[in-house]
C-alpha cells in the first residue's frame, strides 16, 4: 500500500501543469472562453481588495473624505509610506519579524528532518515509533488550549520575546513537518547510505551529505509552510512577546485600531508595507511556491 501511495504521489507532485496540459490536449486545444471569462470575473474578488488597499494607501485624508475609497487618487500621495514607516517603527518590526521567521524556518527544517530521518530508519524500534506517536499528539492540541499556561511559562524563563515565539513555531509545526519528511525519507533507498557507511561515514555525515540534500523538494515544502505561518502569525507574538518594541509586523498593525484613530491613509500604507514582502516573493516565485505547497497537500 505504501509503495503504491508513494508512487502515486510522486507521479502527481512534480509537474501538475504538465499533467493538466495532457488532459487539455484530449479534445484538441479548444479553450473554454466562457469559463475563462467566469474565472477572470471571479478573480476580481481577490484583486479588488488588493487594489483598494493600494488606492487607500496613496490617498491623502482629504481624498478619502466620505467617499467609497475605491477611486484612484489624483494626485497620488506617496508621503503616507514615509509616515507609516516612522509611526510603526517599521525597520524594527521588520527585523523582529524577519528574526522570528528566519529562525523558525531554519529550526523547522533542521529539527523535523533529523527527527524524521531517525524515526524512519529505526521504525521497528519501540522508542522511535513511540516518539513518533508522541510528537503527533501536538496535532490534537490546539494553541488556545495551552496558551494561558504557556504565557506564564515563557515569562518565567525570560522567553517572553521573539526567541520564545521561534521555539513555539518550530515545536507547533513539528508533527506536520515530521509527517511530511518521514514519507519522503522512506522513498530514499537505504543502499545509498550503506555504500557511504562502508567508506567510513558516520550517521551524521550520511545525514548531512546524502539524506538532507535528497530531501530538497520536501525542504522547500516545509520551508514555505514555516515561512508563511511564521511571517503572518498574530496569535503567538501577540500573546508571548511582552515588550511592544519587539513586536512583529502583524501585531504592530493593531496600532491603527485605536478608537480615536481616523488616519486611514496612514493605516493602509502600513498594511501594504507589511503585506508586500510575502506578496512580492510569492508573485516572483509562484510556480515554485505552488508546487511546494501542492506537494504538502498530496500527502
Amino acid at each position: 500500500m505504501t509503495a503504491s501511495t508513494l508512487a502515486a504521489s510522486k507521479h502527481l507532485t512534480p509537474d501538475a501543469p504538465a499533467r493538466s496540459n495532457r488532459r487539455s490536449n484530449r479534445e484538441g486545444f479548444r479553450i473554454n472562453w466562457w469559463l475563462t471569462a467566469l474565472m477572470l470575473a471571479a478573480s476580481l474578488t481577490v484583486l479588488l481588495p488588493l487594489y483598494f488597499t493600494v488606492a487607500m494607501a496613496l490617498k491623502s485624508p482629504d481624498q478619502i473624505g466620505t467617499g467609497t475609497g475605491l477611486a484612484w487618487p489624483n494626485p497620488m500621495n506617496w508621503d503616507n509610506f514615509a509616515a507609516a514607516y516612522v509611526a510603526t517603527n517599521f525597520p524594527r518590526a521588520f527585523m523582529s519579524t524577519a528574526f522570528v521567521t528566519v529562525l523558525s524556518v531554519l529550526g523547522s527544517l533542521a529539527s523535523s528532518s533529523l527527527v524524521a530521518y531517525a524515526i524512519a530508519r529505526n521504525w521497528n524500534h519501540r522508542f522511535f515509533r513511540g516518539s513518533f506517536v508522541y510528537l503527533l499528539s501536538a496535532m490534537f492540541i490546539p494553541f488556545p488550549v495551552i496558551i494561558l499556561p504557556l504565557i506564564k511559562q515563557t515569562a518565567l524563563l525570560g522567553l517572553d520575546n521573539p526567541a520564545g515565539v521561534v521555539f513555539l513555531h518550530v515545536l507547533g509545526g513539528i508533527s506536520f513537518n515530521t509527517l511530511l519528511y518521514i514519507a519522503f525519507v522512506r522513498s530514499i533507498p537505504v543502499e545509498l547510505e550503506e555504500s557511504a557507511r562502508m567508506d567510513g561515514a558516520t550517521t551524521w555525515q550520511v545525514f548531512r551529505k546524502i539524506i538532507f540534500p535528497l530531501l530538497a523538494p520536501m525542504n522547500a515544502t516545509v520551508g514555505i509552510f514555516a515561512f508563511l505561518g511564521s511571517w503572518n502569525d498574530f496569535l503567538l507574538p501577540q500573546m508571548l512577546i511582552a515588550d511592544p518594541a519587539l513586536q512583529t509586523l502583524p501585531v504592530v498593525q493593531m496600532l491603527f485600531q485605536g478608537e480615536f484613530n481616523t488616519n486611514y491613509s496612514l493605516a493602509f500604507a502600513s498594511y501594504l508595507m507589511a503585506m508586500a514582502p510575502t506578496l512580492v516573493v510569492y508573485i516572483l516565485a509562484q510556480r515554485w511556491v505552488l508546487s511546494g505547497v501542492m506537494r504538502g497537500a498530496v500527502k
Partner: protein, 314 residues
C-alpha cells in the same frame, strides 16, 4: 492531516526499507547507533517542555480557583460545573459552531468550484491560478483590517448611493449580520488552501475515466456528479474536517473585524479562553480550554475513523 492513514499504511512495509530490520529484530534493539538518539531526544525534550507541560499545568489549574495571580486552592470540578451554567460561554460555543459549520460549507463549495475551473481548459491558467492563491500568503489579521474598512465605510456609502437601505449602516455593527462578514473574510482567506487539496484530488483522477465517459456520451455535469465527486471524496472529507477544526479556533479575523462585538455577538471560544489572562478568571477559562480540547479531540477521532475507512475503500 492524513496522520493516521500514513501511520496505518506505513507501519507494516517499513521493514524492508530499514537497515536494522535486515539484521533481525533481536539485534535491532541493541545495535542502534546512538547518533539516532541525539537526533530525536533534544526535540522530544523541548516538545515535552513547551507543549505537553503547559497542557498538564492547564488541566491542573482548571481544578483550582486560581485567578492568574495570588493564592489558590483546589475546588474540584466547580469550574466545569459553572461553565455549563454560564450563558456567555454557551453563547460563544453556539456562535463558534454555527460559524464553523457555515464557513466549512461555503469554503468547500467555493474551493471546489475554483479547483474545477483551474483544472478545466481555460486561457491564462497560470496567471489566474496565481491570483486565486494570493490570499494564502497574506496575514489574516491585516486582510481583516482591510475588509473592516470595506464593510464599515465603502459598503454603506455604496448602499446609500444605490438605495439599498438595509446595508446603509455597517454590517459589522449589526448583531445579526456581523458574523456573516466574518464568514466572508474567512472564506476569502481559507479557500486557496482547500483549493490546493482539491486540485491535487482532481489531478489524481486518470484522464482515461473521462475519455470513457465521453464515449458513453455523459455530459460534463453528469461526469462531475458520477465520476469526479466520488473519486475525490477522500479529499473532500479531509478538507471538511481540517477546515471545521481550524474554523473552531478562529481568532485573528474576528479581532480584525469586530473584536467580538457588537456586544458579545461574535465572540469565539478561543477569544473567551484568551480573556482568562486579563480577566482574573484564569482557572475558569482553563476549564473552558479543557472542554474545548475534548471537543476538538472528538472531532479528530471522527477524522481518523473517516480517513481510515477511506483508506480501506480505495
Amino acid at each position: 492531516m492524513t496522520t493516521t492513514s500514513r501511520v496505518a499504511q506505513t507501519a507494516p512495509p517499513a521493514g524492508p526499507n530499514n537497515p536494522t530490520s535486515a539484521a533481525g529484530t533481536v539485534r535491532s534493539k541493541s545495535r542502534i547507533d546512538p547518533t539516532y538518539y541525539w537526533m530525536v531526544v533534544p526535540v522530544l525534550a523541548l516538545f515535552a517542555f513547551f507543549i505537553t507541560l503547559p497542557a498538564l499545568v492547564g488541566v491542573f489549574f482548571s481544578l483550582t480557583n486560581y485567578a492568574g495571580y495570588g493564592d489558590w486552592k483546589f475546588i474540584g470540578l466547580m469550574n466545569y460545573v459553572n461553565i455549563f451554567k454560564d450563558p456567555a460561554v454557551l453563547q460563544s460555543y453556539i456562535f463558534t459552531f454555527v460559524f464553523a459549520l457555515t464557513t466549512t460549507v461555503v469554503v468547500n463549495v467555493v474551493a471546489l468550484a475554483i479547483a474545477l475551473g483551474l483544472n478545466a481548459k481555460i486561457k491564462w491558467r497560470t496567471g489566474i491560478r496565481t491570483v486565486f492563491f494570493i490570499p494564502m500568503v497574506l496575514s489574516a489579521l491585516i486582510v481583516s483590517f482591510v475588509f473592516n474598512y470595506l464593510f464599515s465605510n465603502t459598503l454603506p456609502v455604496l448602499a446609500e448611493r444605490f438605495g439599498v437601505t438595509p446595508l446603509a449602516t455597517s454590517i459589522l455593527a449589526n448583531e445579526n449580520l456581523a458574523w456573516l462578514a466574518i464568514v466572508l473574510v474567512t472564506v476569502w482567506q481559507a479557500a486557496p488552501g482547500a483549493t490546493i487539496i482539491y486540485l491535487a484530488g482532481l489531478q489524481s483522477v486518470p484522464s482515461e475515466v473521462y475519455e470513457a465517459a465521453d464515449l458513453d456520451g455523459a455530459g460534463s455535469f453528469r461526469q462531475f456528479l458520477s465520476l469526479t465527486l466520488p473519486l475525490i471524496l477522500g479529499y473532500l472529507v479531509i478538507n471538511v474536517i481540517l477546515g471545521f477544526k481550524g474554523f473552531l479556533g478562529t481568532y485573528e479575523i474576528i479581532v480584525g473585524l469586530t473584536g467580538g462585538g457588537p456586544g458579545m455577538a461574535t465572540q469565539s471560544v478561543a477569544m473567551r479562553i484568551f480573556s482568562g489572562f486579563t480577566g482574573g478568571d484564569y482557572s475558569y477559562q482553563m476549564a473552558n480550554a479543557v472542554i474545548y480540547f475534548l471537543i476538538t479531540l472528538l472531532i479528530s477521532v471522527i477524522q481518523l475513523r473517516l480517513i481510515q475507512r477511506r483508506g480501506v475503500s480505495l
